[in-house]
Amino acid sequence: MVRVDILALRRVFADGTSIGPIDLSIADGEFVTLLGPSGAGKTTTLRMIAGFITPDSGDLLFDGQSVLSIPPRERNIGMVFQSTALFPHMTVFQNISFSLDMAGWQHKDVVARVEELASMLRIKRLLRRRVDQISGGEAQRVALARALARDPKLLLLDEPLSALDPELRERLQVEIRRIQRRLNVTTIYVTHSQEEAFAISDRIAILRDGIIVQVGDPEDIYEHPADEFVARFLGGGNVFRGTVVGSSDGTIRVSVGSAVFSVAGEAEEGEVVAFSVKPEDVVVSLEKQDGEMLQARVRSVVPQLGSYRVTLQLDAQQVVAIVRDSSLARSLRSSGDNPVWFGFAPSDAVVIPPSRPHTSTC
């Protein structure tokens, strides 16, 4: 419905906390998620887009037109907060119809629109209830219906599901995505859960300390984290950081604590580097095998879909590996304090750029 261009949008709060500059373009009908840890500036960015926070600099374009001077109520945005912010003194129906009433719609049009939204979100039977008589999940559906009533050009969702239990969350994720596709409304979704971001988005923008550190589709970000922070935050792989102690034809040797790993890549001796290894690429065994193997102790063995997630402890570092052989998993579990062996091929390790130092004030 609208193409959104965020151009170097920036806001510095009185206490010096700085959010931005944020640069991000969202195509018409696209579903983009802002993902980042608490305090990264996700809400602030969203509120700048909605118009509740005035940016100090930068610009915000809807279809190429700057909207910074337009008040929130005229931006035609739908928004849903984690704390649904439903009007407590109104019924579900009145909540959904609020924007239509404000715009002076005819009563019969209002009824038709509300019923249409209610059946789309499967809340028809709730319409007469007061908002304190509905559950958390229902409240989020009502909030979504209310946000969609005016046919907004842009939908902003700030952690709408994070107060719900996992099963309900997953159901609503699917539903939000279904409705977004159907209405083809440009959507910006905020979450701090990488799982949710991966499940729902066309593209993900990762925020840290008020700056976008990486933008890409889920596979892209998962396979090629832009830096150490992203790699660690996504939690998809084992991230090691160490000092280069030697290098020879395309392989460097990196010392991490008391262990030394071989990693494919180029770096000067003495340089500090980070690299990641996917759990499925880590080999674990009771006996030493061919290739470079190191000793570690087993911390936990947790069964998961068709495999076992084995966590090893190596000095202060944890290493996660995926094991498919159930008899190996059983022996690992009962290994107690006896060391086991693990290793990975140097070519499976990916050197990642170090991230900018953390600047948060907290």
């Binding site: 109520r73 931006r75 945005i77 704390s83 912010a85 407590p88 003194h89 609020f98 924007s99 009433d101």
Partner: protein, 557 residues
Amino acid sequence: MSMLTEVGVEVRRRSVLSAVVIASPILLLLIFVVYPVTYVLIAGLLYGPGSTFAETVLSPVTQRIVAFTLQQALLSTVITVAVSLPAAALLARLEFSGKGVVRAAMIVPFVLPPIVVVVGFLRMFGPYGVIDTVAMAMSGSAISVFDLSTGLTGIILAHVFYNIPLVTLMVSSSLETLPPEVEEMAELLGATTLQKWRYVILPHIRSALGASAVLTFLFCFMSFPIVLALGQGRYSTIEVQIWSAFRYFDYGQASALALLQLGVTLVLAVAYVYLSGGVANGGRSARIKTVSFRELPRSARLLVTVYAILLLILMVGPIASIVLGAIYDPVTREFSTEGFANLLRTGVGGGLTALINSVVYAGLATLSALVLGLPLAYAQLSERAGVRGVATAMTLLPLGVSSITIAYGLMRAIAVPLRLSITPWPLIVIAQTIIGLPFSARAIEVARRNIDPELLEQADILGATRLQRLFFVELPLLAPGILVGGVFAFAMAIGEMSATLFIALPQNYTLAVAIYQYLSVRKFLEAGAAALVLVVVCLVAFLVMERVSGESAGGTI
């Protein structure tokens, strides 16, 4: 088996004891409020002497008085609400330095005796008062040109002064419980500022607004010193008329009017309880949507400034003018220390006797208000709904029955059989106790409710007996609440004029009554100096409350 019985007897003895302790204040209130008021109503209506109920109700004089009572209360309420709404919005939404001080200072008018406010109003808005002096200088006139302090204007202005803090505080704290997201959502959904107020904010504060308006109406409806002193005999309300009727031994009329008044106040009290039940007390929202003064558009800044200055003149002017009133005589138009000299004079009409009376009566009344307030507060927190209900009703009772009615009841139902008519001072103490009790009980109840129950459980687990727990854990934790309640009760007692004037013989006059007597014989300096003493006492009381309880003093109100 025998041990079990012993334990049983012990438990029963204990519960009998606590029942007696809890029942005693309720019993005393029954004896000193319910019985006298009922007696006096019935006796007055049945046996007079004086006019019958029908005569009273049908007389055009009564009808005029009732109409005026309602009219002035309604006007006062409407104006108070209209003036307070912007103040409440600013207090909740505008960031400005000194906000905490302003919020705290709002309690001052509550503890300021009405008769003192009268003195302040005369000096600020009255003939040869501060504003009049400025107006005279500007117009070059040698005589007074400006008087807003007397008649209907004065009465209403003083009532507005009194109730602005009440409405402002109640409404602004209700505004502060509105989550900012709700408001933003309304904006995002296309509501204009006006629509946002109409459909989202007003419904949210409706209960607080209604409750504070009803309370304001109730206070104005029963107001006595302000109407008496500023009305200067030309204006009379039901409350004033009960007093006059009593003085002319027309007990029939006094009782008929008291019955009428009681009917109205009870309805209002019920309305208040109903409305205040709907006030959301979710606590202040984590993030309040505020704006700073600089962010406002220029026109709004101008408006806010003008409003704030006018409000300041209305609220601070009269209080500050009392200082002037103590040293400036508007009759001779000279400065003098005669007022203070009078405070050191003994004998009838002298200030010292009144000062001593004030302190002694208020001290005794405070002590009894605390002794009764403690069990009453506990009874209000009882697990049994019945006990809770009776205790709460009893605590609120003195707020719903006017001071004059209570005094009238005490004078006829208690003074006569106990032969206290010629030494009525114990009745003054009783009346002041009754008037202070709601405040002491409320402060203690709030403090008790704020004690973490886990602390008391800890004391139990650590082996304290009930008495040890009470003395070593509970009372120390309650101490600030008891102090606040005591100070509040003292301020109410020492400033009490209505019942005291009703009961007192000249040798029993307190400062508050003396001020009224001075004013009625135009001894303005004497009145001013006495008022200043009361202002100082009340300011000290306020500071103590502030120190001890910070914001929780507001909760007491």
